[in-house]
């Protein structure tokens, strides 16, 4: 350790970091913009945010695997240009080499540095003991359970004696109990200083996990990604997930993550842009959520953490559901609370047939892309259109993958609402058959009015 530590002996210091991905002949998509971040010695920091908010990209920039397009990325005051000796990473999918034994996997980094064999073996065996894999040195990854494989991942990282340990959703591929055990073990090693690591930074999708482990929680917004909020967690360890202080912090985080951009009261909301990144949520799940709200809570109003507990869904899925319900105009989300709107109450109390009608109505009124597709199909003489046509339009706003995903999502909703049909083999969208017949008989109707300004404004992609 240094005798003189400069005022902020920061391990990691990011200033104004910017990252944009450029598609071959399309415009750039900015993933990170103006990110400022510091990691000091002795702290655990977690990054939370919705999918696509650039958290993993940021982690990889710090790891040296990706280069930032702007801003400064410093490790101990030196610029990071590639993977650095003092930084190690643990992966969500474990990333073990299947043809190497546990011991060989752990020795991987040491071997790459040409550390002599006997020293390698000594250090590896020691870490294997500490991490709790004693006796399994000669096992192959295929013989191990998920939790044990991640322990190998940890051992591989810790044997390098890194200053900074980066973790990319390290526990999300594990079942709840194993994840808890592993988290506890890691915290124990950290607190008892059994590992020389000085700082830990991890990305998580699980709010409770983040609050259990970290000293600071950073919440990211998406499109472009930047630090939306920073929540310090000053609770003493071991942290009780049922304690009021814990719950208060969790509540606050939920509220921030579901917060909508403010708009002046009374201004009409703009309709959604065509390229709005629709959330992933199936109609059946949205229905299930509304029913739960109506049945389990008074007046269909609930605190988001309470709803999360009822539904038992991973946080990310829940956020997508809430967004979907909000976009369609069935629920409102404000200040960490969910409430069923009158339309939602009517939906829950209707019969199945009526529900479909309502869903279709809301879909066409609130989701511009659905309206657009429907209008094009109405206008065309044979009431058919290839999906590529819409894909190309979406590609003006989004990357190719994202465009496909959004189109798939709107097709999913459209089919459920029976406002159009889709043939997977030919890739054509068409009006449902009974409606086509009706159109043959009646003269073509004038194009439907533009969607009413009842949808919320949302930043377009």
């Amino acid at each position: 350790m240094n005798n003189v530590t400069p005022p902020a002996d920061l391990l990691i210091n990011l200033t104004g970091v910017r990252k944009a991905f450029r598609a071959p002949d399309r415009s750039e998509r900015t993933v990170l913009e103006g990110v400022n971040f510091k990691l000091a010695q002795g702290e655990i920091v977690s990054l939370l945010g919705k999918s696509g908010s650039g958290k993993s990209t940021l982690l990889r920039i710090i790891a040296g695997l990706i280069k930032a397009n702007g801003g400064e990325v410093l490790y101990r005051d030196k610029t990071i240009n590639g993977p650095v000796k003092g930084i190690a990473m643990v992966f969500q999918s474990f990333a073990l080499f299947p043809w190497l034994t546990v011991q060989q996997n752990v020795e991987l980094g040491l071997e790459a540095q040409a550390v002599p064999a006997d020293e390698r073996v000594k250090r590896a065996l020691k870490v294997i003991e500490v991490i709790g894999l004693g006796g399994f040195e000669s096992a192959y990854p295929r013989e191990l359970s998920g939790g044990m494989r991640q322990r190998v991942g940890f051992a591989r990282a810790l044997v390098m004696e890194p200053d900074v340990l980066l973790m990319d959703e390290p526990f999300s591929a594990l079942d709840v109990l194993t994840a808890e055990t592993l988290r506890g073990d890691l915290l124990e090693l950290w607190q008892e200083r059994q590992i020389p690591t000085k700082g830990i930074l991890f990305v998580s999708h699980n709010i409770e996990e983040a609050v259990t482990m970290s000293d600071r929680v950073l919440i990211f917004s998406s499109d472009p990604g930047r630090v939306k909020a920073e929540i310090p967690v000053n609770l003493p360890h071991p942290r009780d997930t049922e304690s009021p202080a814990f719950k208060a912090i969790v509540d606050e985080i939920y509220a921030i993550m579901t917060q909508q951009p403010q708009r002046a009261a009374g201004t009409p909301a703009e309709p959604l842009s065509l390229g709005y990144r629709l959330p992933e949520a199936t109609p059946h799940r949205i229905e299930g959520m509304m029913e739960t709200l109506a049945e389990e809570f008074n007046n269909g109003k609930a605190d988001i953490p309470a709803l999360a507990e009822q539904l038992e869904l991973p946080d990310d899925t829940l956020f997508q559901l809430l967004e979907a319900g909000r976009l369609l105009g069935f629920i409102s989300v404000e200040h960490g609370d969910v409430a069923l709107l009158p339309a939602g109450h009517i939906y829950v109390e209707s019969t199945d047939a009526k529900r479909k009608e309502l869903f279709a109505e809301h879909l066409v009124h609130h989701i511009s892309l659905a309206t657009h597709i429907r209008r094009i199909l109405d206008e065309r003489r044979d009431h058919r259109a290839p999906e590529d046509r819409f894909l190309q339009e979406l590609q003006d706003y989004l990357t190719d993958d994202e465009a496909e995903r959004v189109l798939d999502q709107v097709i999913n909703w459209g089919r459920y609402a029976e406002i159009f049909e889709y043939d997977y083999n030919s890739g054509f969208l068409s009006l449902p058959e009974e409606e086509e017949e009706k159109k043959e008989e009646a003269p073509p109707a004038p194009p439907p009015p533009p969607p009413p300004a009842a949808s919320d404004a949302a930043p377009s992609a």
């Binding site: 240009n81 993977p83 190690a88 969500q92 990333a95 043809w99 295929r142």
Partner: protein
């Protein structure tokens, strides 16, 4: 013993649409072939190797001949392995190299191997005057070409599809390129590579047999080996000799299977990336024995020592904190210049070829050969259709009965490995005896060796139908044609296509030796491009050999693109069991 032998990769260029480079590659490769042929043509006579080499017809010499054939196969394999590692690594790592290397490989895969032989043998002989080495090299080269392209493609595809997170881990722990290759890339590529190696070797016996007795320019040069033994037996009308040879071949393949194939596949299982717990693992008594003996373990330690020594020499010395490594930004004009350069060479090759065709051979003959090609193509299609009609139902029937499948699968693989050309003399005798039509009855010879690929692939496909799907079929009382249409055919479709592609490719190759067959002094010739090539080879007429090979290659390429790849893509998209 692992029953599921569906090959892990189909060796196709991942881009389905032909791009500019495929068009460029064709004239380039054909041009190079022409150069070789032209060079051969310049030799006045192939070098005479003193006394014509006599091959004995004594059955007791067979073990020795078997050994020589095996050695040739081993040499070809070693050369293929080296070639594929170098070529595939280059293509995978360099964008510029990839642009031209992969289309060239594509074309090479389609060229008939025996066609290679005809063209290159005189060239090789000239390299080693006064020596049998030249001819040996030609034979080994033929074997090499039967294996190398498959293996290279497999390796190339593996290198390009390494799981992203493993790549990141290798980067995080700062493995150098050398370390990464031996610790990550090559092990990852090993299972499909070994599979392709074994399949190639199985198919290779055919070429070993075919290439040991080479008739060039009216002279027959024979290398000691099973193929030449048979060739001698054919000219002597020695039926007993044929019988002995077939027996020896059977024993030989059995030995190769137990001592080489199975242990290697069992060992390669260690590198498999995803393993399903409870899946039956391949075993080999030889491998288990070797892993238990102390001696073997000591021998196994030697590579480890070499590795340790190499580590400090090839490690990454600089940290990410050093000066930023400025990746030489590719100058935009370099890209265009490279493209233009390749296009120029291709165009030049095309012009020269057209000119050559016009002067040496004449367009009429080219048309004639084209029609011959159509004839052979018709044969291949009809035969594959017939073989499918026969073997698909049988394959499915066997595949749905696991116990039966376990016994039959190895037999089918064995039949696929057995060189069918050993059976050709029998066919000639029969045709002569019954005075049958040559056109029709030489055709089955083409498919004789390759139909087994359809069989064992369909068996594997039927075995892989998920049990719950079969249960649903039973539950809903699915019977007869409906069951076939809805359940079975879609499930086995992609395995069938895999088998059919291999069978079709093999049949094209076989056409060269099966459209012109002989017994004693009788030679039967059918109408087709294979016969054309074989005839031209016997006469030493290089321009025509070359023309025939080109035509054959183009047909194969067309077939592949228009028929097989589309079917495969269809199988992948519509009928994949996810």
């Amino acid at each position: 013993m692992r029953q599921n032998f569906i090959p892990p990769t189909i060796n196709f260029n991942p881009n389905l649409r032909p791009n500019a480079w495929d068009l460029a590659a064709l004239p380039l490769v054909l041009g190079i072939l022409w150069l070789l042929a032209f060079g051969g043509m310049q030799m006045s006579t192939p070098y005479n190797i003193g006394d014509a080499l006599t091959v004995s017809s004594d059955p007791l010499d067979l073990p020795y001949y078997l050994l020589r054939s095996f050695l040739r196969m081993a040499a070809g394999l070693a050369a293929s392995l080296t070639f594929s590692i170098v070529y595939a690594t280059l293509a995978a790592k360099s964008k510029y190299a990839e642009k031209i290397l992969i289309p060239i490989l594509d074309v090479l895969q389609s060229i008939p191997i025996l066609g290679f032989l005809s063209i290159t043998v005189t060239g090789f002989i000239a390299l080693f005057p006064g020596n049998l080495m030249g001819v040996e090299c030609a034979a080994i080269f033929a074997i090499f070409t039967s294996q190398a392209w498959n293996m290279t493609f497999s390796l190339y595809q593996s290198l390009r599809t390494i799981p992203h997170d493993l790549n990141e881990a290798a980067a995080m722990y700062r493995l150098s390129a050398w370390q990464k290759f031996w610790r990550l890339e090559l092990p990852f590529a090993t299972p499909p590579l070994i599979w392709n190696m074994m399949m190639s070797v199985s198919g290779g016996w055919f070429f070993v047999v075919a290439s040991e007795a080479i008739t060039v320019s009216g002279q027959t040069i024979m290398l000691p080996g099973i193929g030449s033994y048979i060739s001698r037996a054919i000219t002597d009308k020695n039926l007993a000799g044929i019988g002995w040879a077939i027996t020896a071949m059977l024993v030989g393949i059995l030995i190769y299977d137990q001592l080489f194939f199975r242990p290697l596949v069992a060992w390669a299982d260690k590198f498999k990336f995803e393993s399903i717990p409870g899946e039956e693992l391949p075993t080999s008594w030889l491998l288990t024995y070797m892993q238990r003996t102390k001696l073997m373990r000591h021998i196994g330690a030697a590579p480890g020592l070499l590795w340790e020594i190499s580590l400090p020499l090839f490690r990454r010395r600089h940290d990410g904190l050093g000066r930023p490594v400025h990746k030489a930004r590719t100058l935009p004009w370099f890209d265009k210049a490279w493209n233009a350069f390749l296009a120029l060479i291709a165009a030049y090759a095309l012009l020269r070829l057209a000119d050559f065709l016009k002067t040496s051979i004449g367009w009429e003959e080219v048309l004639h050969v084209f029609l011959l090609g159509l004839a052979t193509a018709a044969r291949v299609l009809i035969l594959i259709a017939i073989a499918s009609l026969i073997w698909v139902p049988i394959g499915v029937w066997i595949g749905l009965r696991p116990k039966l499948a376990q016994t039959v699968q190895p037999i089918a693989q064995f039949m696929a490995a057995f060189p069918a050309n050993l059976m050709f003399p029998v066919a000639v005798i029969l045709i002569q005896h019954f005075n049958a039509s040559v056109e029709i009855w030489t055709s089955p010879l083409m498919i004789l060796g390759t139909q087994w690929y359809i069989l064992f692939n369909v068996i594997a496909g039927a075995m892989a139908i998920p049990t719950d799907m079969k249960d649903v079929g039973g539950n809903f009382g699915l019977k007869g044609w409906v069951r076939w249409k809805r359940l079975i055919l879609p499930s086995v479709f992609s395995s069938y296509v895999t088998g059919a592609i291999t069978a079709s490719g093999g049949s094209w190759n076989a056409s060269i030796v099966s459209e012109m067959v002989s017994w004693g002094d009788t030679t039967l010739m059918a109408t087709g491009v294979g016969a054309y090539i074989a005839d031209a080879t016997a006469k030493g007429d290089f321009p025509r050999i070359w023309l025939g090979c080109c035509m054959l290659s183009m047909f194969v390429i067309l077939f592949n693109r228009l028929l097989w790849r589309r079917l495969y893509r269809l199988a992948e998209e519509r009928w994949r069991i996810d």
